[in-house]
C-alpha cells in the first residue's frame, strides 16, 4: 500500500539545496568554465590560424604559379624574338654572302674575259707574225731571190691587215 505523505510540499531542505546549488554554480562559473572556454577559444583560434595559413599558402602558390606562367610566357616571347632576329640576321648574311659571291663571280668573269681577250690578241699577233714569216719564206722560195725584207714585210702586213679587216 502506497503511503501518502506531504512529499509535494517543500520544507527547509529547499534552502540547503539552494545553498548547495549556488555553491556548485559559483565554483564552476568562476574556476572551471572559464578555463574550458579559454581552451576551446584557443583551439578554435589555432584552427582558424591554420585555415588562414592554408589560405595564405594557397594564395602564395597561386601567385607562384602565375609568376611561373608569366616568366614562361616572357621566355617564350624572348625565344620567339631571338629566333626572329636570328632568322633576320641569317637572311641578311645570306644576302650579303650571295651579293659578295655574285660580285666575286662577276669580277672573276671580267678578269677571265680580259685574260681571254689578251690571249686572243696575243694569239692573233702570233698568228700574224708567223703568217708573215711563212709568206716571206714562201715568197723567197717562189721567186728565188731575196727581197728587200723591210719593204716586203710592210707589203705583207698591209695585205694581212686587209685580210683581217675583210675577215672581221
Amino acid at each position: 500500500m502506497l503511503a501518502v505523505t506531504d512529499f509535494l510540499l517543500p520544507n527547509a531542505t529547499f534552502f540547503a539545496e539552494l545553498v548547495a546549488f549556488l555553491v556548485v554554480l559559483g565554483v564552476l562559473a568562476k574556476w572551471v568554465l572559464p578555463y574550458i572556454s579559454k581552451a576551446m577559444a584557443e583551439r578554435q583560434a589555432e584552427i582558424l590560424q591554420g585555415i588562414e595559413a592554408g589560405d595564405e599558402g594557397r594564395r602564395l602558390l597561386q601567385e607562384a604559379r602565375a609568376e611561373r606562367e608569366r616568366l614562361l610566357e616572357e621566355a617564350r616571347a624572348e625565344g620567339r624574338l631571338i629566333v626572329e632576329q636570328a632568322t633576320k640576321v641569317a637572311g641578311q648574311a645570306k644576302e650579303e654572302i650571295l651579293a659578295n659571291a655574285r660580285e666575286e663571280a662577276a669580277r672573276l668573269l671580267a678578269r677571265a674575259e680580259s685574260a681571254i681577250q689578251r690571249s686572243t690578241e696575243l694569239a692573233n699577233e702570233e698568228v700574224r707574225r708567223n703568217l708573215v714569216e711563212l709568206v716571206m719564206a714562201a715568197a723567197e722560195r717562189v721567186i728565188g731571190a731575196e727581197l728587200d725584207a723591210a719593204h716586203h714585210r710592210r707589203l705583207i702586213e698591209e695585205a694581212a691587215a686587209e685580210l683581217e679587216s675583210s675577215a672581221s
Binding site: 500500500m1 502506497l2 503511503a3 501518502v4 505523505t5 506531504d6 512529499f7 509535494l8 510540499l9 517543500p10 520544507n11 527547509a12 531542505t13 529547499f14 534552502f15 540547503a16 539545496e17 539552494l18 548547495a20 546549488f21 549556488l22 555553491v23 556548485v24 554554480l25 565554483v27 564552476l28 562559473a29 574556476w31 572551471v32 568554465l33 578555463y35 574550458i36 572556454s37 579559454k38 581552451a39 576551446m40 584557443e42 583551439r43 589555432e46
Partner: protein, 243 residues
Amino acid sequence: MSGVPVPVIASISLPVGKFVQARVDGFTFNLDTIWSTGVAALVVLALGLAVARSASKHVPGKLQLFWEVVVDAVQKQVEQSIGSKAGPVVPLAIVLFVFIFVANLLEIIPSGARQVALPSPTADINTPLAMAAVVFVVYTSAAFKHKGISGYFRRYLQPSWWLLPINVVEELVKPFTLSLRLFGNLFSGGLMIMLLSLLPAWISWLPTGLWKLFDMGIGVIQALIFSLLTILYYEAAVSAEGH
C-alpha cells in the same frame, strides 16, 4: 509462508515520499536528499576542477570532451536564441545540465532494494524547486535590467490589459512547472524501481536493470529540458517582444 505473492506485495508499504528527516529549530530537513545532493555536488565539482586543472587547447581528453560538448551546445543554443544579451545564462544552463545529469544518475547506482542509501536528489521537490528559484531570479533580474521596471511590468499588459491575470499566472507558474516536470519524472522513476524491487529476487534484477537503463535516458532528457527551458525563459525575459 505459502501462497501466491500478490497478498505479500499488497501488505508491503512502500516508502513513497518518506525521507530521513531531522528537525532543527522547527525546520525540517530531508537528510538523505541533502546527503545525495552533497555527493552529486562533490562529483560535479571534482569533475569540473579536474578538467579545469588540465584543460588543454590541444587534443582534449574524454572528460574535457564531455565538458566541451556541453559548453559548446549551450553556447550555440544561447547564441542562436539570445545573441549578445546572453549574460549569466550560459554558465547557469551549463551547471544546471551537468548537476541535474549527475544527480539523476545517482538513482541508477545500486544502493539497496528500497533505494535509501543514495536517492536521486531531484526526486525530492526541494531540489528542483531550489534550482527553479535560481532560474526565476536570474531571468527576472535580467528582464528588469534589459527592460527597466516600467518595461518589465508593462509586458504583463500585452497584448491587452485584460490579459493581466493570465500573464501574471503564466509568469508565476514557470518555476513550478519547471521543477515539477523534473521532480515528477525522477520521482516516478524511483517509484518504479521500488515497485520492481518487490518482485522475487531471482527475477527482479532483469526489469530493474532494464528500467535503470531507461531511467538513464530519462535523466539525460530531463537535464536537457531543464537547461533548455532556462535558456528559453531567459530569452523571453530579455527579448523586446518576449513575455
